[in-house]
Protein backbone atom coordinates (compact mmCIF):
# COMPACT_ATOMS: atom_id res chain seq x y z
CA UNK A 1 0.00 0.00 0.00
CA UNK A 2 0.99 3.63 -0.38
CA UNK A 3 1.01 5.96 2.59
CA UNK A 4 2.14 9.56 3.01
CA UNK A 5 5.08 10.48 5.20
CA UNK A 6 5.79 14.01 6.42
CA UNK A 7 9.11 15.23 4.99
CA UNK A 8 9.87 17.17 8.17
CA UNK A 9 9.09 14.71 10.98
CA UNK A 10 8.36 11.40 9.23
CA UNK A 11 4.82 11.08 10.65
CA UNK A 12 2.90 8.52 8.54
CA UNK A 13 -0.69 9.03 7.43
CA UNK A 14 -3.01 6.86 5.37
CA UNK A 15 -5.44 9.78 4.87
CA UNK A 16 -4.08 12.62 2.68
CA UNK A 17 -4.18 15.51 5.15
CA UNK A 18 -3.18 19.05 4.07
CA UNK A 19 -0.82 19.66 6.98
CA UNK A 20 1.10 17.29 9.24
CA UNK A 21 -0.80 17.31 12.57
CA UNK A 22 2.41 16.62 14.49
CA UNK A 23 4.80 19.31 13.16
CA UNK A 24 2.64 21.41 10.75
CA UNK A 25 4.90 20.44 7.86
CA UNK A 26 3.21 20.71 4.48
CA UNK A 27 5.34 18.55 2.22
CA UNK A 28 4.97 14.79 2.02
CA UNK A 29 6.51 11.76 0.36
CA UNK A 30 4.52 8.84 -0.98
CA UNK A 31 5.99 5.74 0.64
CA UNK A 32 5.31 2.15 -0.38
CA UNK A 33 4.95 -0.33 2.46
CA UNK A 34 3.54 -3.80 2.74
CA UNK A 35 0.00 -3.59 4.09
CA UNK A 36 0.41 -6.43 6.55
CA UNK A 37 -1.65 -6.16 9.68
CA UNK A 38 -4.36 -7.78 11.76
CA UNK A 39 -8.11 -7.39 11.87
CA UNK A 40 -9.16 -5.17 14.79
CA UNK A 41 -12.91 -5.33 14.12
CA UNK A 42 -15.47 -5.60 11.33
CA UNK A 43 -19.14 -5.02 10.60
CA UNK A 44 -21.51 -5.89 7.79
CA UNK A 45 -23.32 -2.78 6.54
CA UNK A 46 -26.89 -3.70 5.67
CA UNK A 47 -28.35 -0.18 5.60
CA UNK A 48 -25.86 1.94 3.62
CA UNK A 49 -26.03 5.64 2.80
CA UNK A 50 -27.41 6.65 -0.63
CA UNK A 51 -24.03 6.60 -2.44
CA UNK A 52 -23.36 3.00 -1.40
CA UNK A 53 -26.81 1.55 -1.97
CA UNK A 54 -25.92 -0.66 -4.95
CA UNK A 55 -23.25 -2.50 -2.98
CA UNK A 56 -25.30 -3.74 -0.01
CA UNK A 57 -24.53 -5.61 2.14
CA UNK A 58 -20.79 -5.17 2.37
CA UNK A 59 -18.16 -5.50 5.07
CA UNK A 60 -16.18 -2.62 6.54
CA UNK A 61 -13.19 -3.63 8.64
CA UNK A 62 -10.52 -1.86 10.67
CA UNK A 63 -6.98 -3.23 10.35
CA UNK A 64 -4.05 -2.48 12.63
CA UNK A 65 -0.90 -2.27 10.50
CA UNK A 66 2.39 -3.55 11.86
CA UNK A 67 3.47 0.04 12.69
CA UNK A 68 0.33 0.39 14.85
CA UNK A 69 -1.65 2.61 12.45
CA UNK A 70 -5.37 1.87 12.14
CA UNK A 71 -6.90 1.74 8.64
CA UNK A 72 -10.60 1.62 7.81
CA UNK A 73 -11.35 -0.22 4.56
CA UNK A 74 -13.75 -2.39 2.64
CA UNK A 75 -13.29 -6.13 2.69
CA UNK A 76 -12.51 -7.25 -0.87
CA UNK A 77 -15.83 -7.95 -2.58
CA UNK A 78 -14.99 -11.53 -3.45
CA UNK A 79 -14.45 -12.33 0.20
CA UNK A 80 -17.53 -10.58 1.55
CA UNK A 81 -19.72 -13.62 1.14
CA UNK A 82 -17.72 -15.60 3.70
CA UNK A 83 -19.38 -15.84 7.09
CA UNK A 84 -16.99 -14.25 9.54
CA UNK A 85 -13.70 -12.49 9.86
CA UNK A 86 -11.90 -13.21 13.09
CA UNK A 87 -10.54 -10.43 15.25
CA UNK A 88 -6.76 -10.77 15.34
CA UNK A 89 -6.64 -12.64 12.02
CA UNK A 90 -3.86 -11.54 9.62
CA UNK A 91 -4.99 -9.23 6.80
CA UNK A 92 -3.36 -7.31 3.97
CA UNK A 93 -4.36 -3.75 3.12
CA UNK A 94 -3.97 -2.25 -0.35
CA UNK A 95 -4.97 1.18 -1.61
CA UNK A 96 -5.10 3.13 -4.85
CA UNK A 97 -5.27 6.88 -5.37
CA UNK A 98 -8.78 8.26 -4.77
CA UNK A 99 -10.10 4.85 -3.69
CA UNK A 100 -10.75 3.68 -0.13
CA UNK A 101 -8.35 1.01 1.18
CA UNK A 102 -9.21 -2.61 0.46
CA UNK A 103 -8.65 -5.25 3.14
CA UNK A 104 -8.04 -8.92 2.33
CA UNK A 105 -7.77 -11.93 4.55
CA UNK A 106 -4.49 -13.81 4.56
CA UNK A 107 -5.49 -17.42 4.24
CA UNK A 108 -3.41 -20.10 5.90
CA UNK A 109 -1.41 -22.10 3.33
Amino acid sequence: MVIRRCQSCGHPSVTPLPVCPICLGDTFDAVHQDGNGTCLSWTRIRRPATDFKCAEPFIVAVARLQNGTLVTGRLAQAEAADTALEIGAPVVVTNQANEPPVIRRVRPL
Binding site: T43, R47, T50, T72, G88
Partner: protein, 387 residues
Protein backbone atom coordinates in the same frame (compact mmCIF):
# COMPACT_ATOMS: atom_id res chain seq x y z
CA UNK B 1 -16.74 34.02 36.02
CA UNK B 2 -20.23 34.38 37.47
CA UNK B 3 -22.31 31.45 38.62
CA UNK B 4 -25.00 30.54 36.10
CA UNK B 5 -28.40 28.93 36.60
CA UNK B 6 -30.98 27.38 34.33
CA UNK B 7 -34.17 29.36 34.96
CA UNK B 8 -36.42 28.10 32.19
CA UNK B 9 -36.85 24.97 30.10
CA UNK B 10 -39.00 23.92 27.17
CA UNK B 11 -39.25 20.94 24.89
CA UNK B 12 -41.45 19.59 22.15
CA UNK B 13 -42.06 15.87 22.12
CA UNK B 14 -39.30 13.98 20.32
CA UNK B 15 -40.76 11.89 17.51
CA UNK B 16 -42.65 12.79 14.38
CA UNK B 17 -43.66 16.39 13.69
CA UNK B 18 -44.78 16.15 10.09
CA UNK B 19 -44.52 19.35 8.06
CA UNK B 20 -43.18 21.42 10.97
CA UNK B 21 -39.96 23.27 10.14
CA UNK B 22 -36.95 23.10 12.47
CA UNK B 23 -37.22 26.83 13.14
CA UNK B 24 -40.88 26.46 14.14
CA UNK B 25 -40.03 23.58 16.50
CA UNK B 26 -37.26 25.76 17.96
CA UNK B 27 -39.69 28.65 18.48
CA UNK B 28 -42.14 26.41 20.39
CA UNK B 29 -39.43 25.15 22.75
CA UNK B 30 -37.86 28.60 23.18
CA UNK B 31 -41.24 30.20 23.95
CA UNK B 32 -41.79 27.70 26.79
CA UNK B 33 -38.30 28.30 28.21
CA UNK B 34 -38.67 32.09 28.18
CA UNK B 35 -42.12 32.00 29.79
CA UNK B 36 -41.03 29.54 32.49
CA UNK B 37 -38.00 31.69 33.33
CA UNK B 38 -40.25 34.69 33.89
CA UNK B 39 -37.57 36.95 32.47
CA UNK B 40 -38.17 39.99 30.26
CA UNK B 41 -37.09 39.27 26.71
CA UNK B 42 -35.09 42.51 26.79
CA UNK B 43 -32.73 40.79 29.24
CA UNK B 44 -31.80 38.09 26.71
CA UNK B 45 -28.49 39.10 25.19
CA UNK B 46 -27.52 36.03 23.16
CA UNK B 47 -29.12 33.11 21.33
CA UNK B 48 -27.29 29.89 20.43
CA UNK B 49 -28.98 27.29 18.27
CA UNK B 50 -27.62 23.76 17.95
CA UNK B 51 -28.48 22.14 14.65
CA UNK B 52 -26.71 19.60 12.47
CA UNK B 53 -28.52 18.65 9.24
CA UNK B 54 -31.20 21.27 8.50
CA UNK B 55 -29.30 22.54 5.45
CA UNK B 56 -28.97 19.08 3.92
CA UNK B 57 -32.41 17.75 4.87
CA UNK B 58 -34.66 20.82 4.74
CA UNK B 59 -32.72 23.32 2.63
CA UNK B 60 -33.10 25.87 5.42
CA UNK B 61 -30.15 27.57 7.10
CA UNK B 62 -29.79 30.69 9.34
CA UNK B 63 -31.93 28.96 11.97
CA UNK B 64 -30.65 31.18 14.79
CA UNK B 65 -31.64 34.38 12.98
CA UNK B 66 -35.00 32.89 12.08
CA UNK B 67 -35.60 31.89 15.70
CA UNK B 68 -34.72 35.40 16.93
CA UNK B 69 -37.19 36.77 14.40
CA UNK B 70 -39.92 34.31 15.40
CA UNK B 71 -39.76 35.06 19.13
CA UNK B 72 -39.46 38.83 18.80
CA UNK B 73 -35.75 39.03 19.54
CA UNK B 74 -34.48 40.39 16.21
CA UNK B 75 -31.42 42.49 17.01
CA UNK B 76 -30.02 40.03 19.56
CA UNK B 77 -26.81 38.26 18.44
CA UNK B 78 -28.06 34.87 17.22
CA UNK B 79 -25.60 32.11 16.33
CA UNK B 80 -26.08 28.61 14.99
CA UNK B 81 -23.46 26.11 16.16
CA UNK B 82 -22.73 22.76 14.58
CA UNK B 83 -20.73 19.89 16.03
CA UNK B 84 -22.60 16.92 14.53
CA UNK B 85 -24.72 15.15 17.17
CA UNK B 86 -23.13 17.27 19.93
CA UNK B 87 -24.48 20.53 18.42
CA UNK B 88 -27.04 20.98 21.22
CA UNK B 89 -24.52 20.51 24.01
CA UNK B 90 -22.20 23.00 22.33
CA UNK B 91 -25.02 25.57 22.06
CA UNK B 92 -25.67 25.15 25.80
CA UNK B 93 -22.01 25.68 26.70
CA UNK B 94 -21.86 28.88 24.64
CA UNK B 95 -24.98 30.29 26.30
CA UNK B 96 -23.45 29.51 29.70
CA UNK B 97 -20.20 31.26 28.71
CA UNK B 98 -22.10 34.34 27.53
CA UNK B 99 -23.72 34.77 30.95
CA UNK B 100 -20.79 33.57 33.08
CA UNK B 101 -18.45 36.05 31.40
CA UNK B 102 -20.76 38.96 32.12
CA UNK B 103 -21.40 39.69 28.45
CA UNK B 104 -25.14 39.40 29.01
CA UNK B 105 -27.67 38.80 31.80
CA UNK B 106 -29.54 35.96 30.12
CA UNK B 107 -28.99 33.72 27.11
CA UNK B 108 -31.08 31.18 25.28
CA UNK B 109 -29.74 27.79 24.16
CA UNK B 110 -31.94 25.89 21.74
CA UNK B 111 -31.45 22.63 19.84
CA UNK B 112 -33.64 21.66 16.91
CA UNK B 113 -33.89 19.16 14.07
CA UNK B 114 -36.36 17.87 11.46
CA UNK B 115 -35.52 14.48 9.98
CA UNK B 116 -38.53 12.19 9.64
CA UNK B 117 -39.65 13.58 6.26
CA UNK B 118 -36.54 12.04 4.61
CA UNK B 119 -35.99 8.35 3.81
CA UNK B 120 -33.47 6.32 5.82
CA UNK B 121 -30.72 6.25 3.17
CA UNK B 122 -30.94 10.06 2.78
CA UNK B 123 -30.78 10.55 6.57
CA UNK B 124 -27.84 8.10 6.75
CA UNK B 125 -26.02 10.13 4.08
CA UNK B 126 -26.81 13.39 5.92
CA UNK B 127 -25.46 12.00 9.21
CA UNK B 128 -22.38 10.75 7.36
CA UNK B 129 -21.52 14.43 6.76
CA UNK B 130 -20.00 14.13 10.27
CA UNK B 131 -17.55 11.48 9.02
CA UNK B 132 -14.26 12.25 7.29
CA UNK B 133 -15.18 11.66 3.64
CA UNK B 134 -11.54 10.84 2.86
CA UNK B 135 -11.31 7.88 5.22
CA UNK B 136 -14.11 6.18 7.17
CA UNK B 137 -16.91 7.65 5.05
CA UNK B 138 -15.21 6.66 1.79
CA UNK B 139 -15.11 3.03 2.91
CA UNK B 140 -18.91 3.03 3.16
CA UNK B 141 -18.99 3.08 6.96
CA UNK B 142 -22.21 4.32 8.59
CA UNK B 143 -22.83 5.26 12.23
CA UNK B 144 -24.51 1.95 13.04
CA UNK B 145 -21.47 0.39 11.35
CA UNK B 146 -19.06 2.37 13.53
CA UNK B 147 -20.78 1.06 16.65
CA UNK B 148 -20.84 -2.45 15.18
CA UNK B 149 -17.04 -2.18 15.03
CA UNK B 150 -16.92 -0.85 18.60
CA UNK B 151 -19.19 -3.65 19.84
CA UNK B 152 -17.02 -6.45 18.39
CA UNK B 153 -13.88 -4.87 19.82
CA UNK B 154 -15.54 -4.47 23.26
CA UNK B 155 -16.83 -8.06 23.21
CA UNK B 156 -13.39 -9.36 22.24
CA UNK B 157 -11.60 -7.36 24.98
CA UNK B 158 -14.09 -7.63 27.85
CA UNK B 159 -16.32 -10.56 26.90
CA UNK B 160 -19.38 -8.29 26.64
CA UNK B 161 -22.34 -10.50 25.69
CA UNK B 162 -25.34 -9.98 23.40
CA UNK B 163 -27.58 -10.11 26.48
CA UNK B 164 -25.64 -7.36 28.22
CA UNK B 165 -25.83 -5.05 25.20
CA UNK B 166 -29.55 -5.79 24.72
CA UNK B 167 -30.13 -5.00 28.41
CA UNK B 168 -29.35 -1.33 27.64
CA UNK B 169 -32.11 -1.19 25.01
CA UNK B 170 -34.59 -3.02 27.23
CA UNK B 171 -33.92 -0.59 30.11
CA UNK B 172 -34.04 2.60 28.05
CA UNK B 173 -37.07 1.57 26.01
CA UNK B 174 -38.94 0.81 29.27
CA UNK B 175 -37.85 4.11 30.83
CA UNK B 176 -39.24 5.83 27.75
CA UNK B 177 -42.71 4.44 28.42
CA UNK B 178 -42.87 6.73 31.47
CA UNK B 179 -41.69 9.84 29.62
CA UNK B 180 -44.40 11.73 27.69
CA UNK B 181 -41.72 13.41 25.55
CA UNK B 182 -40.47 10.00 24.33
CA UNK B 183 -42.39 8.43 21.46
CA UNK B 184 -40.29 5.27 21.04
CA UNK B 185 -40.68 3.64 24.43
CA UNK B 186 -41.51 -0.07 24.42
CA UNK B 187 -41.69 -3.10 26.68
CA UNK B 188 -39.22 -5.48 25.07
CA UNK B 189 -37.44 -8.67 26.12
CA UNK B 190 -33.72 -9.29 25.62
CA UNK B 191 -34.75 -11.69 22.85
CA UNK B 192 -36.93 -9.08 21.11
CA UNK B 193 -33.85 -6.86 20.83
CA UNK B 194 -31.53 -9.65 19.68
CA UNK B 195 -34.06 -10.96 17.13
CA UNK B 196 -34.89 -7.57 15.60
CA UNK B 197 -33.87 -6.79 12.03
CA UNK B 198 -30.08 -6.71 11.49
CA UNK B 199 -28.74 -3.22 10.62
CA UNK B 200 -24.94 -3.36 10.91
CA UNK B 201 -23.72 -6.61 12.44
CA UNK B 202 -23.91 -7.21 15.31
CA UNK B 203 -26.29 -4.24 15.75
CA UNK B 204 -30.00 -4.88 15.21
CA UNK B 205 -32.89 -2.44 14.89
CA UNK B 206 -33.64 -2.11 18.63
CA UNK B 207 -29.97 -1.41 19.31
CA UNK B 208 -30.36 1.81 17.30
CA UNK B 209 -31.99 5.13 18.17
CA UNK B 210 -34.78 6.26 15.87
CA UNK B 211 -34.85 9.08 13.33
CA UNK B 212 -36.76 11.91 15.00
CA UNK B 213 -37.96 15.51 14.91
CA UNK B 214 -37.91 17.76 17.95
CA UNK B 215 -36.58 20.81 19.74
CA UNK B 216 -35.60 21.70 23.29
CA UNK B 217 -34.57 24.98 24.90
CA UNK B 218 -33.14 26.30 28.14
CA UNK B 219 -32.78 29.83 29.38
CA UNK B 220 -29.66 30.49 31.42
CA UNK B 221 -29.12 33.53 33.61
CA UNK B 222 -27.41 34.73 36.76
CA UNK B 223 -28.27 33.16 40.11
CA UNK B 224 -29.78 36.50 41.16
CA UNK B 225 -32.16 36.76 38.21
CA UNK B 226 -33.03 33.07 38.34
CA UNK B 227 -34.82 33.71 41.65
CA UNK B 228 -37.67 35.30 39.66
CA UNK B 229 -38.27 32.03 37.80
CA UNK B 230 -41.45 29.96 38.08
CA UNK B 231 -39.61 26.66 38.70
CA UNK B 232 -36.64 25.82 40.90
CA UNK B 233 -33.47 27.27 39.33
CA UNK B 234 -30.79 24.65 38.64
CA UNK B 235 -27.10 25.50 38.97
CA UNK B 236 -24.67 24.90 36.11
CA UNK B 237 -21.65 23.37 37.88
CA UNK B 238 -19.73 22.63 34.67
CA UNK B 239 -20.17 23.00 30.93
CA UNK B 240 -17.18 21.35 29.27
CA UNK B 241 -16.41 20.70 25.62
CA UNK B 242 -13.70 18.85 23.73
CA UNK B 243 -12.78 17.77 20.25
CA UNK B 244 -11.37 14.37 19.37
CA UNK B 245 -9.81 12.35 16.54
CA UNK B 246 -11.53 13.02 13.20
CA UNK B 247 -11.26 9.43 11.99
CA UNK B 248 -10.82 5.90 13.30
CA UNK B 249 -7.13 5.97 12.34
CA UNK B 250 -6.66 8.65 15.04
CA UNK B 251 -7.84 6.30 17.80
CA UNK B 252 -5.62 3.97 19.82
CA UNK B 253 -8.37 1.35 19.85
CA UNK B 254 -12.12 1.00 19.40
CA UNK B 255 -12.89 0.75 23.13
CA UNK B 256 -13.02 4.43 24.06
CA UNK B 257 -13.70 7.89 22.64
CA UNK B 258 -10.96 10.26 23.82
CA UNK B 259 -13.27 13.29 23.38
CA UNK B 260 -15.60 11.89 26.05
CA UNK B 261 -12.74 11.13 28.43
CA UNK B 262 -11.35 14.65 28.01
CA UNK B 263 -14.69 16.48 28.30
CA UNK B 264 -15.50 14.47 31.45
CA UNK B 265 -12.13 15.26 33.01
CA UNK B 266 -12.69 18.96 32.31
CA UNK B 267 -16.23 18.90 33.71
CA UNK B 268 -15.11 17.17 36.91
CA UNK B 269 -12.20 19.61 37.29
CA UNK B 270 -14.46 22.61 36.66
CA UNK B 271 -17.03 21.47 39.23
CA UNK B 272 -14.60 20.04 41.76
CA UNK B 273 -16.68 16.85 41.73
CA UNK B 274 -15.92 13.23 40.96
CA UNK B 275 -17.99 10.45 39.34
CA UNK B 276 -19.12 9.20 42.78
CA UNK B 277 -20.87 12.56 43.38
CA UNK B 278 -23.17 12.05 40.38
CA UNK B 279 -26.74 10.95 41.17
CA UNK B 280 -27.94 10.45 37.59
CA UNK B 281 -26.63 10.53 34.04
CA UNK B 282 -28.22 11.31 30.69
CA UNK B 283 -25.69 10.10 28.13
CA UNK B 284 -25.40 9.68 24.37
CA UNK B 285 -26.93 6.23 23.77
CA UNK B 286 -27.26 6.61 19.99
CA UNK B 287 -26.78 2.82 20.06
CA UNK B 288 -27.05 0.32 22.91
CA UNK B 289 -23.30 -0.40 22.84
CA UNK B 290 -22.62 3.37 22.87
CA UNK B 291 -24.15 3.63 26.36
CA UNK B 292 -21.77 0.94 27.59
CA UNK B 293 -18.66 2.66 26.19
CA UNK B 294 -19.85 6.16 27.19
CA UNK B 295 -20.55 5.11 30.78
CA UNK B 296 -17.02 3.70 31.03
CA UNK B 297 -15.43 6.75 29.35
CA UNK B 298 -17.27 9.07 31.79
CA UNK B 299 -15.95 7.04 34.71
CA UNK B 300 -19.40 6.41 36.20
CA UNK B 301 -19.05 2.66 35.56
CA UNK B 302 -15.77 0.68 35.82
CA UNK B 303 -13.96 0.03 32.52
CA UNK B 304 -15.22 -3.08 30.80
CA UNK B 305 -18.24 -3.48 33.11
CA UNK B 306 -20.81 -1.27 31.34
CA UNK B 307 -22.71 -4.22 29.91
CA UNK B 308 -22.70 -6.15 33.17
CA UNK B 309 -23.99 -3.11 35.08
CA UNK B 310 -26.88 -2.70 32.62
CA UNK B 311 -27.86 -6.38 32.81
CA UNK B 312 -27.64 -6.38 36.63
CA UNK B 313 -29.94 -3.35 36.89
CA UNK B 314 -27.27 -1.12 38.43
CA UNK B 315 -28.00 1.60 35.81
CA UNK B 316 -31.80 1.35 36.19
CA UNK B 317 -33.80 4.28 37.56
CA UNK B 318 -33.58 2.71 41.04
CA UNK B 319 -30.01 1.45 40.60
CA UNK B 320 -26.85 2.90 42.08
CA UNK B 321 -26.03 4.91 38.91
CA UNK B 322 -29.25 5.64 37.01
CA UNK B 323 -28.48 6.16 33.31
CA UNK B 324 -31.00 7.58 30.83
CA UNK B 325 -34.06 7.55 33.08
CA UNK B 326 -35.66 9.64 30.31
CA UNK B 327 -35.39 6.70 27.93
CA UNK B 328 -32.35 8.28 26.31
CA UNK B 329 -31.87 8.51 22.58
CA UNK B 330 -33.03 4.90 22.24
CA UNK B 331 -36.54 5.72 23.47
CA UNK B 332 -36.81 9.47 22.85
CA UNK B 333 -35.32 9.28 19.38
CA UNK B 334 -32.42 11.42 18.27
CA UNK B 335 -33.30 14.69 16.54
CA UNK B 336 -29.58 15.18 16.26
CA UNK B 337 -29.19 18.93 16.87
CA UNK B 338 -31.79 18.92 19.67
CA UNK B 339 -30.50 15.97 21.68
CA UNK B 340 -27.91 17.79 23.82
CA UNK B 341 -30.44 20.37 25.03
CA UNK B 342 -33.04 17.63 25.47
CA UNK B 343 -30.65 15.90 27.91
CA UNK B 344 -30.25 19.14 29.90
CA UNK B 345 -34.04 19.50 29.94
CA UNK B 346 -34.44 15.99 31.39
CA UNK B 347 -31.80 16.49 34.10
CA UNK B 348 -33.35 19.82 35.15
CA UNK B 349 -36.75 18.12 35.68
CA UNK B 350 -34.99 15.37 37.68
CA UNK B 351 -33.22 17.87 39.93
CA UNK B 352 -36.45 19.80 40.45
CA UNK B 353 -38.05 16.50 41.50
CA UNK B 354 -40.75 16.77 38.82
CA UNK B 355 -39.61 14.15 36.31
CA UNK B 356 -42.21 11.52 35.28
CA UNK B 357 -39.56 8.81 35.81
CA UNK B 358 -38.03 10.38 38.91
CA UNK B 359 -34.69 9.27 40.34
CA UNK B 360 -34.86 9.36 44.15
CA UNK B 361 -32.86 12.09 45.89
CA UNK B 362 -31.44 13.50 42.66
CA UNK B 363 -29.10 16.33 43.64
CA UNK B 364 -26.43 16.32 40.94
CA UNK B 365 -26.84 15.19 37.33
CA UNK B 366 -24.50 14.84 34.37
CA UNK B 367 -25.20 15.06 30.64
CA UNK B 368 -22.99 13.72 27.85
CA UNK B 369 -23.44 14.60 24.16
CA UNK B 370 -21.12 13.03 21.55
CA UNK B 371 -20.74 13.93 17.87
CA UNK B 372 -19.39 12.21 14.78
CA UNK B 373 -16.81 9.48 15.18
CA UNK B 374 -16.00 11.10 18.53
CA UNK B 375 -14.91 14.39 16.94
CA UNK B 376 -16.93 16.61 19.30
CA UNK B 377 -18.21 16.16 22.83
CA UNK B 378 -19.77 18.07 25.69
CA UNK B 379 -20.20 17.05 29.32
CA UNK B 380 -22.27 19.25 31.62
CA UNK B 381 -22.88 18.90 35.35
CA UNK B 382 -25.97 20.42 36.94
CA UNK B 383 -26.92 20.71 40.60
CA UNK B 384 -29.89 21.51 42.80
CA UNK B 385 -29.29 24.84 44.60
CA UNK B 386 -29.35 23.19 48.06
CA UNK B 387 -26.63 20.57 47.39
Amino acid sequence: MREVCIAGTGSTTFGRHSAVTPQDLAARAARAAVLEAGIARSDIGAIYVGNFVSGVLTGQEVLAGLLADHIGLAGVPATKVEGACASGGIAFRHAVMAVASGLCEAALAVGTESMTHADTATVTAALNCAMDHRSDGAAGLTYPGLFGLVWRAHAERYGTSREEVAAVSVKNKRNGLRNPLASMGADLSLDDVAQSKPIADPLALYDCCGISDGAAAVLVTTTERAKEAEGLPIRVLAAAQSSGPARISGLDNLLSFPATVQAAQRAFAESGLSPTDIDLVELHDCFSIAEIVDSEDLGVVPRGEGGRWALDGRTAVDGEMPINASGGLLAKGHPVGATGIGQIYEVVQQLRGTHPNQVKEAGIGLTHNLGGTGISCTVSILGRPDV
